[in-house]
């Protein structure tokens, strides 16, 4: 532990405290600045064949002003704007059209949202409570002494300083949430409401929005008024995030003495959470879409984050459409391919690991090379060969291809495993009269079990997930493995997404479970024993 003089601590803490107070004051200022600017068009009038300043213009203007006046009497703050469109008609004369519109533009401070009863109001309340709470706790925590280094603080004041940090952290996170909730209310919910697709709570929310924007209007006027609403968020709201973040940093200094390690740690967790969410996102999509109704999968406005109704019968439907058959084919294909690959691979790996013979390096080179040949680039050749062998359109053909193209990997991984096991036991057994087959089966294989299982599962998964060769070789529906089978739900002009993803779900879950079992061994196997590095 570095020794810190109490004078240094005092200086540092004082600086942090001053910064924290300044940031809180700044946050209050920002909350009082305009956070949102709303524009609503209340009324438009087009006047054709009109030029600015002529008789028609004056007449139309008069009319518009009268309407504006009636709005003003109702208590709106309105302004009249005009837009001139000039055009040359077919006779070569210039005509002009003027569009008058009565708009109401209004800015709102963050404070205005507090009592509005909108969904975002609650969030803003929490932000304010958190900020205030962090200030109070920080001041309470300071009783532990300004000159005391953080590790020497008494339990209570140390805890209070940490909780103050946590509250400030929540406040930082909730500012963007506040903006998002507002966008959701004023844009998404309004759009849904106007297209009659809002949920049961929509009318109540719209009433609140009407009160907020226009100070209370009749329900039947509301859709017309909401149609023209546009808004944007000002910088003041976004500036709140860095200000609160600096507040958080100064609180961290008070609680932990140092800023760097805490931020690095926090950054690490943020990265991991963001990464996990991104990786899981497509799986979330697959899962929820698998249980949506048909209409829901292709209607943007209808969609909510989860199915409005979970259609479990999708699973039944895909079973009726033969998905079990595809799954069965995949199982047969993968088990067969794995068996063949292991039956050929284990003896070869054994010879490579334990025996000396001429041409060993040639075979080694061949194995490494063939690891590089993807079946895809050889598609035409493979399909011709399968025709010649009469294995076209059969699962056995697929098995053999998958086994052959996984052979190199299997030999590599198994050889690595065998090499990592000392051969003394086998040598002793051979001297005792065992032959090589017995030495392999009775002694080496049981010891190499983890490596063998890893290889087995990896080959299984490769065969299970293979798509390209199967799609070329298999044309009879009854022989399709699941990866090819799911494509029956997508035709040229229509894709039945819910069935596609329901079958994909069935095809994916078992494999992910298997993969998680070998994950630990695979990392080591890939570079040290298997795909050699």
């Amino acid at each position: 532990m570095k020794t810190v003089s109490s004078g240094d601590v005092l200086k540092k803490n004082r600086r942090a405290l001053v910064l924290a107070v300044i940031m809180l004051a700044l946050a209050l200022v920002l909350l009082s600045l305009p956070a949102y600017e709303f524009d609503a068009t209340l009324y438009t009038k087009r006047s054709g064949n009109t030029f600015v300043g002529d008789e028609r213009y004056a007449k139309a203007m008069e009319e518009v002003e009268a309407v504006a006046e009636s709005y003003r009497q109702q208590g709106y703050e309105v302004s009249v704007s005009e837009q001139v469109t000039e055009r040359v008609n077919s006779k070569g004369e210039t005509t002009s059209m003027i569009t008058f519109s009565i708009g109401s533009a209004k800015t709102y401070r963050a404070w205005d949202f507090l009592g509005a009863g909108l969904p975002s109001s609650k969030i803003l309340t929490v932000v304010l409570l958190c900020a205030a709470g962090s200030l109070v706790l920080m001041l309470l925590g300071l009783r532990g002494g300004m000159a005391t280094p953080h590790y020497a603080l008494k339990g209570a004041s140390a805890r209070m300083r940490v909780i103050a940090c946590a509250l400030a952290f929540i406040a930082v996170l909730l500012v963007p949430v506040f903006a998002m909730v507002n966008t959701h209310s004023f844009s998404r919910e309004v759009t849904l409401f106007l297209s009659n697709m809002g949920g049961e709570a929509a009318p109540a929310l719209m009433q609140k929005i009407g009160e907020f924007l226009y100070g209370g209007v009749e329900a039947d006027q509301l859709p017309e008024l909401l149609k023209g609403v546009t808004y944007h968020t000002t910088w003041a709201l976004w500036a709140l995030i860095p200000v609160l973040f600096v507040l958080l940093c100064s609180l961290i200094v008070l609680a932990k003495g140092e800023l760097g390690p805490t931020l690095a740690r926090g950054g690490l967790y943020v990265f991991i959470i963001a990464m996990s969410l991104l990786i899981l996102y497509p799986f979330y999509v697959m899962f929820i879409t698998a249980f949506r109704g048909n209409a829901e999968t292709t209607d943007m406005y209808f969609l909510h984050m989860l199915p409005t109704k979970w259609i479990w019968s999708n699973m039944k439907d895909i079973v009726e459409r033969g998905v079990l058959r595809y799954l069965m084919n995949s199982i047969v294909l993968s088990v067969g391919a794995t068996t063949i690959a292991m039956l050929c691979g284990i003896p070869a790996a054994y010879a490579m690991a334990r025996m000396k013979f001429k041409g060993k390096n040639v075979f080694l080179g061949f194995v490494i090379m063939s690891q590089m040949f993807s079946p895809v680039v050889l598609l035409v050749g493979i399909s011709q060969l399968m025709n010649a062998l009469h294995l076209n359109d059969t699962i056995i053909g697929l098995m053999l291809i998958n086994a052959a193209f996984n052979q190199a990997f299997a030999i590599w991984l198994l050889r690595g495993t065998f090499l990592s096991i000392s051969s003394e036991m086998e040598q002793a057994a051979c001297i005792d009269g065992c032959n090589t087959v017995q030495a392999l089966v009775r002694i080496l294989l049981p010891m190499a079990a983890p490596g063998i299982v890893t290889t087995l599962i990896f080959v299984f998964i490769n065969a299970w997930n293979e798509y390209t060769i199967s799609t070329v070789l298999i044309s009879t529906p009854a022989n399709k493995p699941i990866t090819v089978g799911i494509t029956q739900f997508s035709s040229f002009n229509m894709i039945e997404w819910q069935y596609l993803f329901a079958s994909a779900l069935l095809a994916t879950v078992p494999v992910i479970i298997l993969f998680m079992c070998i994950e630990k061994h695979l990392a080591a196997g890939l570079t040290s024993g298997g795909v050699k590095g």
């Binding site: 990786i279 060993k360 690891q371 050749g381 086994a403 052959a404 990392a523 080591a524 590095g533």
Partner: protein, 294 residues
């Protein structure tokens, strides 16, 4: 190397035989067939005629789609391998730290790797649909955007999405390769570096990167081959449309051979692709064999 007693000289070859038969039949033969077809005249009906020299290659290269397809292939391989290596490396560094939930995080990283490419590609194809895609749906519902965005306005953008999906599914492999390299590094190196006052960057460039270089090389070379051969992503999302503008060599070859029934030029392209792969794998083999000797 310690080896066990082999009584008969021919015995090792018997052990190798099944493997050799399997690989010769299903790997070597197709290669030979492809080479033979590439230099033969093939009718639309698939009847193989006589030797035509390099005619198929000339046809394949002269096709207007050939140039853009090769450029796409190049962009595809470089961007997917490059970015997934970079991101995978960073993720491996992060996963190598001690933190709460590390095991869970490592299991999650495996997910895209364990899923069939055609399924991943289908999901992303759905996600980025303009009218009802899930990305617009989620962003609208969370209040991040105000209006639906057309995520696939042009074919260039669609190709970028395809590269993105390629990167997404390739990252786990790199992560695990680098992770195994990182875990084999002796902590003493870092302790020594810390004692000498090395900064984070100095440790990274002088200790970590040199020591994980072997793992990184393996994963990069293997990735070049896997990515070059990757078919389902592009085939599922755009099928190379419009007019082969988003095709790579592999998907273009497939379309030529099995849709347009132009087996001659298709096999010629196979040979070209095969030659490129051989150069890369030859390089890889040389590096690997060198290490075996050492």
């Amino acid at each position: 190397m310690d080896s066990i007693l082999v009584r008969r000289k021919w015995e090792p070859y018997v052990w190798l035989l099944p493997s050799i038969i399997l690989m010769t039949t299903f790997v070597i033969f197709p290669i030979m067939i492809v080479f033979k077809l590439a230099f033969s005249e093939i009718s639309k009906a698939g009847i193989v005629g006589g030797f035509v020299g390099f005619q198929n290659f000339v046809d394949a290269v002269k096709a207007p789609a050939f140039g853009p397809v090769m450029i796409n292939t190049f962009i595809w391989v470089i961007s997917v391998v490059g970015l997934s290596t970079l991101i995978g490396f960073i993720m491996a560094m992060v996963l190598n730290q001690e933190f709460i939930g590390r095991k869970v995080a490592r299991s999650i990283v495996v997910f895209p790797w364990a899923t069939s490419l055609v399924i991943q590609a289908s999901i992303w194809n759905y996600i980025i649909k303009y009218e009802y895609g899930n990305l617009n749906n989620v962003l609208l519902n969370m209040g991040i955007i105000k209006q639906a965005i057309n995520w696939r306005a042009t074919y260039q953008i669609e190709f970028m999405w395809e590269c993105g999906v390629g990167i997404f599914v390739t990252i786990p492999f790199v992560t695990f390769c680098v992770l195994s390299g990182l875990q084999s590094i002796d902590a003493a190196y870092y302790e020594a570096a810390t004692v000498d006052g090395a900064s984070f960057w100095q440790k990274l460039t002088h200790v970590t990167i040199p020591l994980v270089m072997p793992s990184l090389t393996v994963s990069t070379v293997l990735n070049i081959i896997y990515v070059f051969n990757s078919f389902p992503i592009i085939y599922t999302i755009t099928k190379g449309a419009p007019a082969n503008k988003t095709d790579t060599l592999i998907t273009y070859l497939y379309m030529l051979a099995f849709y347009d029934q132009k087996k001659g030029p298709a096999t010629a392209l196979s040979v070209i692709g095969f030659t490129i792969l051989c150069l890369v794998s030859g390089l890889y083999m040389m590096m690997t064999m060198k290490k075996e000797d050492a």
